[in-house]
Symmetry: D2
Subunit: 288 residues, 4 copies
């Protein structure tokens, strides 16, 4: 039985924001140990560099259109256009990702987030032995969706499998089916721990995040403490006065210096960021 865990040291970083419209640079550049800073060197990750491209995807405050994407194969830390955009674009809901390739080519179509209609998707982790499993997984994608696959990553393929299994109707259930299917295909091919993932996906209205791995040792994922709680903890913090109660950030790795600002997502769990109370639940892969 094959088991490859050597790819585990490849870790992407990502951030998902939902709340009061905010300039992207407020989160991407300004905080201590911000995402762009992490692109050069990280604290929690094993590897030191996320220089294999990056991407951001954002919804506009007043529009019901599909999100805009900006993706590039340059390292994020030196990309002037990213800096310009982050200084110019404000959004109530956006995703950002910096990539450390697990083997697939460094090209724009392999940069996260991926988009389909109003949906976006990003991923940190890997399908193990992906080169060997890819054909079987591709065949399971709905032929109507198949032509929309533009790149060659495991991450994008997970997105289209989730879409095939009902992401737009039952997001959590669809991702559980996708993971169950990937595990089944992996096990059939002798892969011991087929999947490792943190995932964020959104339809522009709600945000779903997932933490799971076949071996029960998933990469880190953190969500921000409720703003109302933080305001009580830090009554003098002006930034906290400016954001709405419903503002929430989910990140692969915490940043900033505010003690108590982050909670760890439990192993094998999902979260939903939405109007009203957010949800947190157990994630259970499902066989089809």
């Amino acid at each position: 039985m094959r088991s490859r865990r050597g790819d585990d040291w490849h870790m992407c970083r990502w951030l998902a924001y939902s709340g009061s419209p905010i300039l992207l640079e407020e989160l991407l550049y300004r905080p201590h140990h911000s995402l762009i800073d992490q692109s050069l060197h990280s604290r929690l990750g094993v590897e030191t560099t996320n220089g294999d491209g990056f991407g951001i995807g954002w919804y506009e405050p007043s529009q019901s259109r599909q999100p805009a994407l900006f993706r590039s194969i340059q390292p994020a830390w030196s990309d002037q256009n990213l800096r310009e955009l982050a200084h110019s674009v404000a959004s109530p809901l956006f995703l950002a990702h910096i990539r450390a390739s697990t083997g697939t080519p460094v090209q724009q179509t392999n940069c996260h987030p991926f988009r389909f209609d109003r949906w976006m998707w990003l991923h940190n982790g890997a399908i193990r032995d992906f080169a060997a499993l890819r054909r079987d997984l591709l065949l399971a994608v709905d032929p109507q969706l198949f032509p929309s696959i533009a790149g060659s990553t495991d991450s994008e393929l997970m997105f289209f499998l989730a879409l095939t299994f009902g992401l737009r109707d039952e997001p959590v259930r669809a991702v559980e089916r996708m993971v169950g299917f990937v595990e089944a295909v992996g096990w059939e091919n002798g892969v011991q721990f087929p999947i490792q993932m943190t995932v964020a996906t959104t339809d522009g209205d709600r945000l779903w995040v997932f933490r799971y791995s076949s071996e029960g040792d998933s990469r880190s994922l953190h969500f921000s403490t409720a703003v109302s709680t933080l305001r009580e903890m830090y009554p003098e913090n002006e930034a906290l006065q400016r954001v709405s109660d419903e503002t929430r950030i989910v990140v692969s790795e915490p940043f900033g210096d505010l003690l108590g600002a982050w909670h760890t997502m439990p192993e094998a769990s999902y979260g939903v960021v939405q109007k009203g109370a957010d949800e947190l639940g157990a994630f259970e892969p499902r066989r089809l």
Copy 2:
């Protein structure tokens, strides 16, 4: 006496817009023979391709900040990020440029528009024998401004010379001084026709455009007919109902299918697009 006119077949294309906030794609992609379409093949120009990079610079509707830039060395026609941004960004005042290099390297710092504080600048044309003249021209730049020169083009150097000669206080006069100086340096070095240019520059409030060449045979420049006149000509055209009376477009090459929509800028002239009546005047290079 040296005279090089072979570089004349290198022509950039550009567009300047001032008026009601508009999605960039309305002008960059949608019109027949739009600027992006011109990047692949032009009608009036001699050369067929503008594939040596591009740039856009835009002011935001509600902000007094410096403009944002997006510049890339990829051909404009295949750049996915440009397409995304043009679909996402609306602006009341923006510049766009597609480049055909006259010899300086294809790199982001050589892409137009150039920016200094709230000012932007773009150029089509060339300083002839620029490699031979560059050192003398560089020395004339205000040492305080010198460190802000990032690239190696004649176009950016013209911008910093104009800034040195008072662009922020007397824009037309400063550009006349810049051209007078470049011609003087060129003639001293045996260059017969030292400069060929169309230029657009803006402080985010007003827009100045220039058409001039030492040989009196300048590249084309066109400005749009007053919106009030166009509405009378085309009462049924809905797009014309949506834009303000003060909307004006200046382009190196006309686009669209509306007869009567464009006027040619005269040889050796400048124009000012501003609140109230626009201006059109004679351009006269001045020796310092």
Copy 3:
């Protein structure tokens, strides 16, 4: 029945050389209307620009190793690295390609030539309605070969189908099977003229070239006149004295100024460039 011929105006250009080792720049840059010159503007093609990336692949004179590739998404005409390599690398057998995308992304994995072991492949043309046919075609690729597909083009997929159908053993027959299969899949899906192609493929020893299209109106392909004949025609031409009798060039579009230097490949034909007499034969797609 669907029929799309609008994609026909997208034409790549290519060149294949077999003969005395020669510096790449001798063919890529020096001749009048050379391949790099064609990247900016062509004479025979409908479209004017091949700026969507390029690639070269070459075998070394003394080695039995797999060929080296240099591929980039920059336009060929402004690529400094290509200029350096062409000035440095000499080869007895090489392929060069400049791309005009028919819709698939501009990325390195989509640049020709494609390579598998010692084999290389390049293509000008298109599989029509490729987005609709791609899934069915992918499924026919040998699962052992499938993981070696790195990009998303019709051209690379044609290569892997040909490999699946026996390219390494019976090159002409395998390409005939590939075309027969693509036509069958196309017809089943209502595509009237499924394939349009000129192709070059080589194992480092022999070179096979193909000209074919479903509609019997294939893109141009030309091979050079035998060197011995050219020497008789141009006894004073020194370059012709330096190359061996077996030197042969195949190109999508002729270049240079030597009258009588080029012959047109017939419609629906193949050629083999090899030690001893070259071959020219009829090309007949075969149903499996």
Copy 4:
């Protein structure tokens, strides 16, 4: 008096090879902790990433022509073209450099090595407060050489100053004059420690290397032990049997696992790798 040492944590890495012709990959990829490996993470350096472009320059075994360059703004670790070339090109004398920008843009013209005629130059370190000093330094470059400056780095400007001060005739003396001049200009402008450098330069015949910094705390530089000595130490090592006695490698950071293979260049010293005995001497900046 200003003193900026914060830029010191930006460190490029480089390698210079002179000896028996060798495939570039033998040094760039194969050794433990090779240069490409260092591009992702280094042991001795403070910063962890050298992802701001790279370059190689090589002379061909049999030719007296100028060296070939391959330079790119992609990170070295993921560049497929570099991998291909390193597998294909053999050279008796080459330089390789991976860049961590100290502020100047990431663009091809800022990638090392720089070339002028048959000479190449690369540099690790910085001129401190370079933005403030650049104009004065540029003015000192021979006006005949000035048009050959293509980029905007301190490193390239140091090369052209050295050429101005006689690099082609008295290499060591010219570099001493260059450093003396840079220090003088720096001190006049209130920069306490104006220069920090390790440098390699070559004319294709001999190789000169330098280690110096104004503060007497220069970045690391190492040269390989004489091959004859290494053969005695490791009689069973086959690789050492294949290379000539005159083979020498100079590196910013040691690699490989051979104990005793490296010697540290002393503070403020230069070395000459050449036919016959190599030289090692004291480096003394000279005022003009």
